[in-house]
Symmetry: D2
Subunit: 403 residues, 4 copies
Amino acid sequence: MEAIPALFISDRVKELIPRYQQFVREELIPLEQGAIYGSFKAHLPSLNALRKKAKSEGLFAPHLSEQEGGLGLSLLEFASISEILGQSPLGHYVFNCQAPDIGNMELMHRFASEELKSTYLIPLQKGEIRSCFAMTEPEHAGSNPIHLSTQARLDGDEFVINGHKWFTSSADGAHFTIVMAITDPENLNPYQRASMILVPLDNPGYRLIRNISIMGDEGEDYLSHGEVAFKDCRVPASNLIGEAGAGFALAQERLGPGRIHHCMRWIGICERVLELTCKRASSRELNPNHFLADQQSIQHGIAESAAEIKASRLMVLQTAYLIEKYGAKAAKEDISTIKFYVSNVLMRVIDKAIQVHGALGITDDTLLSFWYRHERGAKIYDGPDEVHKTVLAKRIIKNYSAK
Amino acid sequence: MEAIPALFISDRVKELIPRYQQFVREELIPLEQGAIYGSFKAHLPSLNALRKKAKSEGLFAPHLSEQEGGLGLSLLEFASISEILGQSPLGHYVFNCQAPDIGNMELMHRFASEELKSTYLIPLQKGEIRSCFAMTEPEHAGSNPIHLSTQARLDGDEFVINGHKWFTSSADGAHFTIVMAITDPENLNPYQRASMILVPLDNPGYRLIRNISIMGDEGEDYLSHGEVAFKDCRVPASNLIGEAGAGFALAQERLGPGRIHHCMRWIGICERVLELTCKRASSRELNPNHFLADQQSIQHGIAESAAEIKASRLMVLQTAYLIEKYGAKAAKEDISTIKFYVSNVLMRVIDKAIQVHGALGITDDTLLSFWYRHERGAKIYDGPDEVHKTVLAKRIIKNYSAK
Amino acid sequence: MEAIPALFISDRVKELIPRYQQFVREELIPLEQGAIYGSFKAHLPSLNALRKKAKSEGLFAPHLSEQEGGLGLSLLEFASISEILGQSPLGHYVFNCQAPDIGNMELMHRFASEELKSTYLIPLQKGEIRSCFAMTEPEHAGSNPIHLSTQARLDGDEFVINGHKWFTSSADGAHFTIVMAITDPENLNPYQRASMILVPLDNPGYRLIRNISIMGDEGEDYLSHGEVAFKDCRVPASNLIGEAGAGFALAQERLGPGRIHHCMRWIGICERVLELTCKRASSRELNPNHFLADQQSIQHGIAESAAEIKASRLMVLQTAYLIEKYGAKAAKEDISTIKFYVSNVLMRVIDKAIQVHGALGITDDTLLSFWYRHERGAKIYDGPDEVHKTVLAKRIIKNYSAK
Amino acid sequence: MEAIPALFISDRVKELIPRYQQFVREELIPLEQGAIYGSFKAHLPSLNALRKKAKSEGLFAPHLSEQEGGLGLSLLEFASISEILGQSPLGHYVFNCQAPDIGNMELMHRFASEELKSTYLIPLQKGEIRSCFAMTEPEHAGSNPIHLSTQARLDGDEFVINGHKWFTSSADGAHFTIVMAITDPENLNPYQRASMILVPLDNPGYRLIRNISIMGDEGEDYLSHGEVAFKDCRVPASNLIGEAGAGFALAQERLGPGRIHHCMRWIGICERVLELTCKRASSRELNPNHFLADQQSIQHGIAESAAEIKASRLMVLQTAYLIEKYGAKAAKEDISTIKFYVSNVLMRVIDKAIQVHGALGITDDTLLSFWYRHERGAKIYDGPDEVHKTVLAKRIIKNYSAK
């Protein structure tokens, strides 16, 4: 029977899913404990070998067009693949569709100059380099995207950037960043003050202050979140992405599909976590021949998780479909809905799984601890729950007031 | 933009929805306060006039085939119409697709003899008579469907029925009931002991003890729940529906689509209730020019309700689609999921609406009180939450244990 | 072992509790079904007989001083008795400590003139007459207590009152009301515009428009909520309670202890409801020799209810103690806390009880339906949850900001 | 006004609280970030200096009698102090009343031989050595305390211990452990099969396999959780604590007060976390002059946390009082209640605080991350929620069935 409704799944994806699933099971899951809890850097050779294997099997970069070396999947098609990849924290990385790179690829594909594309985008698409995205500032609430201090002043044919960013994910080891900076501070429209500028990270005006220690991990390389500084950082004016003043609009464009990617990845985590829960419950004996899975409270927890995961998947696929058909702007309500709904489902599913695992659940002997810690951000990044609920409600109320 | 995904909605239904919507708005809503809080019986003439109007507009009995006087909609197509009708407590009744009659129509259509069909089913389909369904017994937990005391003993070519039932909805004024009774008490398989038998209610062995007072209302006619007794109640053996001993299996067949009907009706209520909430919030002034709708807690409640309603709709339509394609048995997990998920959403949406309405919310000046009271049963009838969660979980755990 | 901490219970109360408990069990519970679901008026003779019995046993009016014919209990002492009485919806009425009369007694005791006391308060204390309190207006959100339209204009030595009130509880059959009306509309301080004025209800300027139908019941006499009108309603200026302009301040004084009374009554309901739950769970057989009470989900529901009830009781007693010692103003945070915490506990406890009772739970064959319907207002009246949470939070945040 | 009810607080404690509070604020909080997120071992000299200071101020070891070098506080008195100490993760450690040592001190004080006391207990009370407690086994569900594999066989005047334990908290650097081992495997009463035996950790039959990595931290010294092995580990038979076969009973005795200590520590964390929340909300600007604290959703979260913390404190103090007066066995229901109620409050309060802190909340720049990760175990250790709810419910149901 169809777990995913026929509308939401093409024949091609139906054929691809078991292939990705097998890859995740056979190649990625065995590596997880080492790469995630050990040194990610030390695992780069193995991971690169897997990227090659993915390429040779024609599975690499499912989100890119065939000309760009990918599979040419639509947003909706990629969504279902993204759920499979999300089952492992290595999934998106190995197939080169990990955040923040995928967002930068989408953005540059649409808005970067040909020169920037050939120098930066192509090697990024091939997985030869990595990138990052510098937007959030420690001094300002991220929930207000126009509240920024970083400035890029035009000096001749160069931008001179000064500012302080954090949660610049994967900055460690990245080749370039796209930075959001105020270029037109006097613009009367506060939504038209900022621009996006590409900065190669070997620039002497750039500094990685630290990999922020997050929930017990400083992390490294791809698995890290940088605090970075720009001090009189000079880049050619031609490094501008899109129009000057378009930073906020581009960020919105970047976030729409980005939230689909995140949500489907979260659903992948949920499925994996529910599987771990069921396995543990089925095998953990409380008394001779009486298992955790025989406890009604455990059963009900599993049922509630399953229901919420199903609801999540349908809503996210529906939203991907709407974005594809009508654009991200038209699907704004739907995007806000899935962002807060699915992130909360994710945290509940993980929390119940830990409870079922008992003492084991809080150790780093399983991935539950990793997800519990590192997905807590899901309710915060890309707009906290509170913001999305308000956005959604205002839209709805407006409809009704109009009547 | 599409509120209902294209897969789930045919062109025909797309065209029908606004027509039903208009009917509900213009014809039913103005009648509600009187018919629901006043005397239902006194409103029968108006309601019958509306049935005629529905027939003349070609909207009557959407669930029946065209030969039977309906529109020939599939289960999935009817689901979307059912949401519209659910917005008014009069909706399903006027279009003759109300429970318990719709369940009896489906059952008899598939399993009744030609004679029973011509005598009972045809006038039922035309809306000339009403029926009821006598299964639940006060002495036994309804959550265990094989726990019954009512017996039907074969005496020559007659069944002699003795037993005590309640929650025989709409018994008051009904023309016949279908009763679930033990016909083979010794069968080793407890699921094969009961049968379904049609009993015309002018039978001297049948008695309507009372319309049970439920949440403050005894109700009357269609809007009532009977407690009934069978005392040496004799009916022809040919009044058997389906096979002897098939009662439990038939009840399952009856319940599958029945839960789709209920769930879509609940979603209709949710939509109406959310609309009432938004209207009240937008118009209720707290301070000069500061409205309830400006309060963040109200906004977040609306956003959460909207998200849950959307999730509910997608899951129910998906389940209807699966039942249509693979049968109710194959969709058992999905049916259990929507039953407990949507009924809980319903109660949360109603409860929040009452809170937004303040003192008005607990009066009978709006329908909120009616739904708050009479939909509380949604978490109980057709299997309480606890049963459906356990059913679902056991199915899931079984999958994983197999691995 | 002590269910109620020793601090919170005097020796006298310890001795009184079992006596009240016995009265409730033996005298009130047998009357409930008839008086609550049948005609309250028809039960007045029986209830008056019980009041006499209460007097003869020295249990009547526990909240009044001995000179006033009561037991002279302190607020804290009365709180524990109030929990016992709350177990029956007839409890407070029979002992003449029911809202809204108890609030009026407290108010008049402290702020009424000697003349008003002798004419109105004394017969009220004796249970010879009943009263009501007219504050809420349908046109204004009750959550903003200074938003009132009812006006009382001084014309010579008379007030001329014009206005429209609802939720004037127990107006049907009451002898007088205290009405909150604007007497000084131009006062710069909006909290000093209203006054409280006593109005005898045989006044031709007063009209009981209707007993509002609430959750299915219009009710009658004490068990009713009136919508009332004042049209050029003239009363002597000396009917003023307290100072002119003190209406808001007096309302606050009235509400502080009033919330203790409500909360303890709710806890009494909770205890009774939990008892019903346990009894039903212990006696309802699912399969031979397997009872509802053996289900883990039922057990956990009972445990959660028990925990929340215990938390509620301790917080309310602690608040009563603080009010007694430091005054209602000083205990404002605590009062807000119990108001929203306990009302939510109440609704959760009742809702779980209904679920455990299954179909029976939604009938009027038990009191669960009465409480489910008529206590829903608990989250609304005397300040909705939202207001109390905001009040509490602002106080707390203020403390921290000060640092 | 009194935050803690007078019954629950002696004059002595009232005088002590501000002294402990000052110590925590001035001495401990400044050390936290380094000692908790850095190397705990490296901070031992500073912490030992603080222990000396605590001794010189007469605040050391508040739970011990004066003869033992403590303050001689009762369980109830110590509870209020424990809340203050709980505000810092260094609090209990510095005052030498940290788990698991405090539990071992209580146990040995009551049940150890004089010889064991002089050799082990006295230096433990002085803070010269640390200890641990080896009970939980990875192979068995901790929720079933009689399900153990570790055996201690008597061989002459020695026990020979073989087994595998984990979550032997603070094993790293400890001087001795008390191990729970089966000494009488054939005993018909499964609750009388295990004994407690003291094992000095320089024993060659003992091995610390690893400090388990928990939620991202292996930790070290006191801040660690060991996995340990006993292989033919020989100790004198006189190292038995209490009677042979009394292991389970002693564990119960150990856990009763232990849960008071934990719960009050959790409440201390809650208070500190709520303070951090309020400070962040008051200072974090969303728009010019509009702060997080002005958001209603933030306010309501703070109010709910405050209510739940208040409820928690009252219930725990009440339970401490009951244990003191009637013994831990009599207070079993109360102990179960606080265990599951307060641990859930704790996790909700922390989770809301993280949300209010936004991105900062998931970094290790505040202690929120430490508590979020390391207190997740609170719902698991010393009996998971599910077990305590079942225990409580069965007790309650039993009462009602008896009626």
